[in-house]
Subunit: 147 residues, 2 copies
DNA sequence: CTCGATGCAAAGTATTTGCACCTAT
DNA sequence: ATAGGTGCAAATACTTTGCATCGAG
């Protein structure tokens, strides 16, 4: 994502906060920019370490509190990959993807498949179920690890 | 599942244990039968409470240790429904199903869809990925909760 | 009789919360 | 000025582990 686009997102975040009387503090800005500085999935711990290496010290509590806000504001999505802690990824409008998770090297490959999306909608219809979100994960070995 | 079938599974479990020099203790038998006495998804805590109500006291540690064994022996499958703790379900040979999870009442609806399964295989081919297992979950509102 | 199993309590992980002090608005 | 935010340490929730004792094979 370009800096330009990140700034647009940042404004959306500021607006979100302002609209409910919350504040855009230096800590929140620091976390916001670190989160959008990378495009990989990450965990709370990764974020903490990344900030430390940049000599930007923010407490664990604030990181968790801010991640929660970023999920509520629609900037992040929480994903659980069979582990007991959360992973986060950016939300990109109009794009849904699923994951292939390699049990060999831990690599996470994203893919999109329109046909699967449509079939999921059909399943919902069949059960009169109103879908809010969905996720699909395939665990196995990636091409490299199969060799 | 009929008692007859459960006994067959129990034998498989005994064999599994025997084959690696492990023992079929009264505690393990107690847990085994409770696990197969119901067909719903359950959590470690449910199991503990269920046993308590039956005046069968088994320690939490043993429950966790035995659940791990039942997963390894292929009797149970571990599923995570967006919460941070595990849910378990029986493994039935040759049957794979996915889940609709109602965010209103917490109900979990199982469904199978052959077309989706086939498309998942195609995705794996596309990425030269060797699938070991997969799961799909759709979160939303069930028919009852939509009213 | 022996090695694995059990219960308990303590230790781990990942995350949340209470509180006194601080600061963006 | 004041409601909301921060860091810290303690609390929580779920699960695992160390250890002394027990019991299945």
């Amino acid at each position: 994502m370009s800096d330009k686009k990140i700034q647009v997102e940042e404004q959306r975040f500021k607006d979100y906060l302002a609209s409910r009387g919350l504040k855009y503090t230096p800590e929140r800005r620091t976390i916001f920019w670190r989160v959008f500085a990378t495009h990989k999935h990450f965990e709370a711990e990764d974020l903490l370490l990344g900030l430390r290496q940049n000599h930007q010290r923010v407490s664990k509590a604030t990181i968790y509190r801010t991640l929660t806000l970023l999920v509520k504001s629609g900037h992040l999505r929480e994903v659980i990959f069979g582990e007991k802690h959360s992973h986060y990824e950016h939300v990109h409008a109009n794009e849904h993807h699923d994951h292939l998770i390699c049990s060999g090297c831990g690599k996470i490959i994203e893919f999109t498949d329109e046909a699967i999306e449509r079939l999921q909608d059909k399943v919902c219809l069949r059960y009169k179920f109103e879908s809010e979100s969905h996720r699909m994960q395939i665990h196995g070995l990636c091409a490299d690890c199969r060799k």
